[in-house]
């Protein structure tokens, strides 16, 4: 702005403010009145009659340049797992109970790292494609940015999300379901890179390797790589966060989270699965007969009520509340979500937020007039393939208690007369 006869714009604003403040002070009878508090109705908590936010200037623009949540939302953070022997091979949980809609903010996206979060300068980073290809190729990040990219919304769920529920059900939804997040990912279809390199007809599996201190590796079926796999470099509109694979990661929609290898550096095409540690000794499910289920790629349909949720409390007594939660399927779209408020005896279809996207989180909701007596509520999803989310009883009967991964059973929450919410299966609930 130009500095004119009346000074700078800022000067003018300041003078105007002082004049207004002086008038306001006289008209309303001084600072004592401005500080007055009053309840909105009898018996409710008092709050400022005139909010201070209306009487002083706020902060200037770009304070700070990269925006952060309100200071009153400081409790909405990821919960670090402090029970693993090392924080470097560990995980942090998304606070599902505090989130709205289907998208997870980047700073709250769950983490699973196998040896810490690396610091990678994108200028020094390359992706190599080799093995059973016509032409081995190496791509810089600049190369990748020149290729046609697309943006798609997909969930990621750790294979071990809800693993607590097999043997020691958790009292808190963060522990029981927090290894789940959803974002819009931008990247280059992996198929485009593979076509550029030319896969040999013998090539059936692709080893994906990360540039982290675990040199994380998983084997990916070529069909999946050519279907909807992305080489993703952005998440919710900005470049990936370091803990999500900066500068580039693999993204395999609907597949167990750790196959979407972060900090992607190498893709090797081979004839057979590579049988890495993370697909043999880990991420395999032990069955009661001593055999183990391997290559359980697709995350089966699952749903959970996130509000109210275990670990929380319904405030404000009986009356109307909105039951709200998330449903998803690694096989495609959510077709229907049913909700029970009588412990599973009867179910009613919930409303689904649109758009309902394949392999993305879908938010469902149902209004509930709670009479204040103890109740058990739960949700159950059916996906577009007709697959119905199983009960814990059915899941344990088929998988046994030691399966550890892919727990997708119905999660019933118990609400007591005071409004406290607990996991029905947790000890002491």
């Amino acid at each position: 702005m130009t500095k004119g006869r009346n000074g700078t714009a800022t000067d003018r604003h300041r003078r105007q403010f002082l004049k207004t403040a002086a008038l306001g002070g006289v008209a309303l009878g001084g600072a004592g009145f401005l500080a007055a508090k009053a309840p909105a109705a009898e018996g409710t908590e008092a709050f400022p009659l005139i909010p201070p936010s209306m009487l002083v200037q706020g902060k200037p623009v770009a304070s700070p340049p990269y925006g952060v949540p309100s200071e009153f939302e400081k409790h909405v953070v990821r919960l670090a797992n402090n029970r693993t022997p090392t924080p470097f091979s560990s995980w942090s949980f998304t606070p599902l109970q505090d989130l709205h809609g289907p998208i997870t903010p980047n700073g709250l996206f769950y983490e699973r790292n196998h040896n810490g979060v690396p610091t990678i300068n994108p200028d020094d980073h390359r992706i190599l494609i080799h093995g059973l290809v016509d032409r081995p190729l190496i791509f810089s990040m600049d190369d990748l940015m020149r290729l046609p990219s697309i943006s798609r919304i997909y969930f990621l769920e750790c294979s071990g999300n809800s693993s607590s529920e097999f043997t020691k059900p958790s009292t808190d939804i963060r522990w029981s379901h927090g290894l789940l997040s959803c974002a819009e990912w931008t990247g280059v279809p992996l198929a485009a890179l593979l076509q550029e390199a030319g896969i040999s007809s013998e090539g059936k599996w692709i080893l994906a390797e990360g540039a982290d201190a675990a040199a994380m590796t998983r084997s990916i079926p070529v069909e999946k790589a050519m279907d909807d796999a992305l080489i993703a470099f952005a998440q919710n509109g900005e470049r990936l966060r370091p803990e999500q694979g900066y500068p580039v990661r693999l993204l395999l929609p609907g597949y167990e989270g750790n196959m979407s290898v972060k900090w992607l550096r190498r893709l090797k095409v081979g004839k057979e699965p590579f049988m890495t540690r993370e697909e043999t000794s880990k991420y395999t499910g032990l069955l009661p007969d001593g055999h183990a289920s391997q290559f359980n790629f697709v995350m089966e349909a699952k749903s959970v009520i996130t509000r109210p949720a275990a670990g929380g409390t319904i405030n404000g007594g009986p009356g109307l509340i909105q039951i709200s939660g998330l449903a998803w399927s690694g096989s495609g779209k959510v077709r229907q979500v049913d909700v029970t408020v009588d412990g599973g005896r009867s179910w009613q279809p919930a409303a689904l937020d649109v758009p309902i996207l394949p392999k993305a989180l879908t938010r469902f909701s149902m209004p509930w007039r709670r009479d204040g007596s103890p109740a058990i509520i739960a949700s159950r999803v059916t996906d577009e393939s007709g697959y119905v989310q199983p009960t814990r009883e059915a899941l344990l009967a088929a998988r046994g208690p030691q399966f550890h991964y892919h727990y997708n059973a119905i999660a019933p929450w118990k609400i007591d007369a005071s409004g406290k919410v607990t996991n029905v299966y947790a000890a002491g609930a």
Partner: protein, 207 residues
């Protein structure tokens, strides 16, 4: 040469190159289904990596032993390296922790308290080499030489009584080791629920 002439020559040469390239590629891929609009022609992005770079990056070890490097290590050598480098996290005998238990547990997988270790659970000995080389020790990954990785692998397998105490492992003997749980893996279907709407079985186990 005048600038316009240079420019036209460049355009012509690019066109020739493009036409030649796309013909060659479409012939080579005549049997491939066109899944994307870019499938019919090379994008021309990305470089050809040197053999040296591929060799340096190509560290994965297949179950058949392909890609195993030269070198060798004995159980005795591995015992010393394990004590110095691994025992702090895995315990002196590979059983004490706090990190991953490596030893024991044979015959427990079908019990109520299965103990899943290298000896009882891992299907391939080659995976041990691959993982130790790429990721161990956690605080100093890729610090062990090929000889040292063979030796530590040998020691862990000997503690599990899978190879004898005087064994030496190399690129030929390691893939020949048959792990006890080699055939313990299968693919299974996930259990499905039922879409009952009224008069259903309650979820609460106490009711």
């Amino acid at each position: 040469m005048s600038m316009p002439l240079v420019r036209s020559l460049t355009v012509i040469m690019l066109l020739i190159g493009f036409l030649w390239g796309s013909t060659a590629i479409s012939t080579a891929r005549s049997q491939e289904a066109a899944k994307s609009p870019v499938a019919q022609q090379r994008l021309g992005i990305g470089q050809t990596p040197t053999e040296e770079l591929i060799k340096a990056w190509n560290i994965d070890i297949a179950p058949d032993g392909a890609n195993l490097p030269n070198g060798a290590g004995s159980v005795a050598q591995g015992q010393k390296i394990f004590a110095d480098t691994c025992a702090a996290c895995h315990g002196e005998h590979g059983t004490e922790g706090p990190m991953e238990r490596l030893v024991g547990g044979r015959g427990t997988l079908d019990t109520k308290k299965p103990i899943m270790t290298v000896g009882s659970y891992w299907p391939y000995a080659t995976t041990l080499y691959d993982y130790i080389h790429r990721a161990m020790p956690l605080n100093n990954p890729q610090s062990l030489s090929a000889d040292q990785v063979y030796a530590v692998t040998a020691y862990i397998l000997s503690m599990n009584k899978i190879i004898p105490d005087d064994a030496v492992l190399d690129r030929n003997s390691l893939p020949a080791v048959k792990m006890p749980n080699r055939d313990g893996f299968e693919q299974t279907e996930a259990p499905r629920g039922a879409d009952c709407m009224t008069n259903c079985t309650p979820l609460d186990p106490q009711k």
